[in-house]
């Protein structure tokens, strides 16, 4: 990098059990720092509303409702729940923010999957499910329906872990537009990234192009044929089995997901890409493709473990054309983010 390239300013902050980072291009340092502080305040505020771990958050209060009871929640909680319901419906139930109790049932204290019988599973599945959540946009109340076929007092456990961090990035971006900072990258522990404007040469953006290069495809870069994408005005989220072990459950079967080793989603908002990267882990490659056909603003890259004879060819990476269209090949030692 030449010395006269304007530097990026990077600011980090711990929230939502991860580290958020704001990377600002083309701004004076003090102004960028103040804007980042405003962003981190906003993320902390959102954590207070969305985190199920904070006992007074809207979500924690929601999780204490008895079936039949309602709670008026604030705008931000409602918007997350609404988007979660939409992704649930659009993916045929492959995304579900209420399946936490199933995960707990299936994993022992050390996080290893354990065998449970179909009968046990049927009982547990009866108690969860998005259809138990009734959202009323008229007065921003949420009602928990009794679970059909389960103990009538069973509460619901909503967990926005696969959508809240992305949502926080979207809200942060709104705030940064007030601050007139157009060229900025935000991420939540690298699992979701929102890239706005142009990172420029300092961010490793190829000459003559516009955006932020983001590393993608992980260990499967050779299979995918690229190891980065160039993003501007869009969000990228990744989900995989390599960080926390096999941690995704298919809400449609109640069993651990086995379709993909890793999945990346590009969408117009970080909340959506966050949710979709989780959903794409459990959907088949065909289902992912079909989702992207009907949602033109969404692009996907998934890695599947091949079975049978094809196994000797190794894992297979499949990207939608819109994903490939953004692909970059970063040389070793170059400055892809």
């Amino acid at each position: 990098m030449t010395p006269d390239v304007p530097p990026l300013h990077r600011f980090a902050h711990e929230a939502m059990t991860t580290e958020f980072e704001v990377v600002v291009a083309g701004q004076e340092e003090t102004y960028a720092r103040q804007a980042a502080a405003a962003v981190f305040n906003e993320i902390d505020r959102l954590e207070g509303i969305l985190s199920r771990f904070q006992p007074v958050s809207d979500i924690a209060q929601l999780n204490r409702l008895r079936p039949g009871e309602s709670l008026r929640v604030c705008l931000e909680a409602f918007e997350c729940l609404q988007l979660a319901a939409q992704v649930h419906a659009d993916t045929g139930g492959a995304f579900d923010i209420t399946v936490g109790p199933l995960m707990n049932l299936m994993r022992d204290a050390k996080g290893n999957w354990q065998r449970i019988t179909d009968a046990e599973l049927a009982v547990a599945r009866a108690a969860v499910g998005m259809e138990r959540l009734v959202l009323n946009p008229q007065d921003f109340t949420v009602t928990v329906r009794p679970a059909a076929g389960a103990e009538p007092s069973t509460r619901l456990e909503v967990d926005l872990g696969a959508i809240g961090k992305g949502y926080a990035l979207d809200k942060a971006a709104e705030l940064l537009s007030d601050w007139e900072i157009p060229d900025v990258l935000l991420h939540s522990g690298t699992s979701s990234v929102l890239a706005l404007g142009n990172g420029g040469e300092a961010a490793g953006c190829p000459a003559g192009k516009n955006g932020w290069p983001l590393g993608v495809a992980g260990d499967w870069a050779d299979k995918a044929g690229f190891d980065a994408v160039l993003l501007s005005g869009a969000a990228l989220s990744g989900s995989g089995t390599e960080v926390k072990g096999q941690h995704v459950l298919d809400p449609r079967t109640g069993r651990p997901a086995s379709n993909h080793l890793a999945a990346w989603a590009i969408a117009s908002s970080a909340a959506l890409s966050d949710a979709l990267s989780t959903a794409f882990m459990v959907m088949t490659t065909a289902e992912v493709n079909s989702y992207c056909w009907s949602h033109v603003e969404v692009a996907a890259l998934v890695v599947e473990k091949r079975r049978g004879l094809l196994r000797m060819l190794g894992d297979k990476a499949t990207a939608t054309p819109t994903f490939v269209a953004r692909a970059l090949r970063c040389e070793k030692g170059s400055s892809c983010v």
């Binding site: 003090t30 305040n41 604030c74 705008l75 939409q86 649930h88 007065d139 109340t141 009602t143 065909a286």
Partner: protein, 461 residues
Amino acid sequence: MSSNEKQNVDLKVDRRTFLQSAAAAGASLALSGNALAQAVAQPAKPATVAGPKGIDDLNVGVIGLGAQGQVLIEAASGIPGVKFKAVCDIWEYHQKLVGGRLKKTGHDVKLYEDYRELLAQEKDLDAVVVATPDWMHAEIANACMEAGKHVYCEKEMSNNLEKARSMVATQRKTGKLLQIGHQRRSNPRYIHAIDRLIREAKLLGRVTHAYAQWNRSVADPLGWPKKYAIEQAKLDKYGYVSMEQFRNWRWYKKYGGGPIVDLGSHQIDLFSWLWECNPSAIVAMGGADYYKGNEWYDNVMTIYEYHTPEGINRAYYQVLTTTKRGGFYEQFMGVNGALTISEVAARGDTVEREAHAPSWDEYAKKGWLKPVKEAIKPTTTRNVAVDVRVTAEAGKWPLPIELLKPAHQPHLENFFDAIRGRAKLNCPGEVAYETAVAVLKANDAVAAGRKMEFKHDEFKV
């Protein structure tokens, strides 16, 4: 062809139609609307925040929409019957942020820049929440009460005691309710700890000492989005020297009382609740030592002396703004045990028993404490005078009450219930005035560099 692949092909056909309709009428909305219909049921009950006023409904205005105003609005949003009708801030940016959120959640709310305009226009308000910088509290709260509104005003009542006294006087003259925002006074955890365990059950014996602190990490001055900078003429009109001072008013003597007032006031207020008396004397040290250009002390350490019927008790308080070590909590230390509590329960929520104290089992049985195993049991099996081993550690007994709503909500509920005639205010103006006298003296004591006495009638209006 698997069913999934078939579906894929079908969708490719659909996509052409989809794109055509998308061009015509925003098809992604049509799709998502359809999807949402499955999850969104018919309204369980009619809209409550914007419809006609019910018997328990209260029309509420908020003046001052900064960080604290936003916290109060969020805390009040969960209270049934609260209808926000008007919000006011001299900063257009905060009007836009807060007004936008309220409108999106169905509140039929009007935006104002000048509180006088709000009071002139809004004749149907029952109550006003005041969360401006401290120096404007008295003027605004007084005008609201004169206009017939009940007032919830943030602490500190004022950075000037004469102005704080005028609020109590106006309250008496108008008969309106004046609740001051020492929200721990309505927190069921604090009420249980202080009123029930310490004062009623005398669990700790005589509480000879108290300790409290609020420590925060180093922080930069607050900035503002360039395009929302307030023009100088408007800043002049409302009495702010500059945009920098407007955003960072807490550090300037004209507008606020500094960290000892912003943070310490909440906790020093507990000492007089605990001992049922006001302090008699204070020593304090502190200074504007770390941040350049700030007027107020960025660290204050103070000792208050309380002359109680039991004897002299003392309380130590510190506020630091350059380290978050230990965070914020309060500790009440008696001859039989110590109670540690914090507004965030994870930071303090236990009572420790001294080994010589009378048994607490009866309180555990009554549910006033959570039962725990004592850390060390007396040895009964061996015929020895003393069983020599590691130092006996006192048992830690968790408090039995959880607060499952935002910390400010019970205090607002208390205020709204008082308006409905169903409760007595937990922190009326007279009580908060006594706290203001105690807290503002800490700054005087730092400046004077010597022990200062309180006169008994200093606390009365």
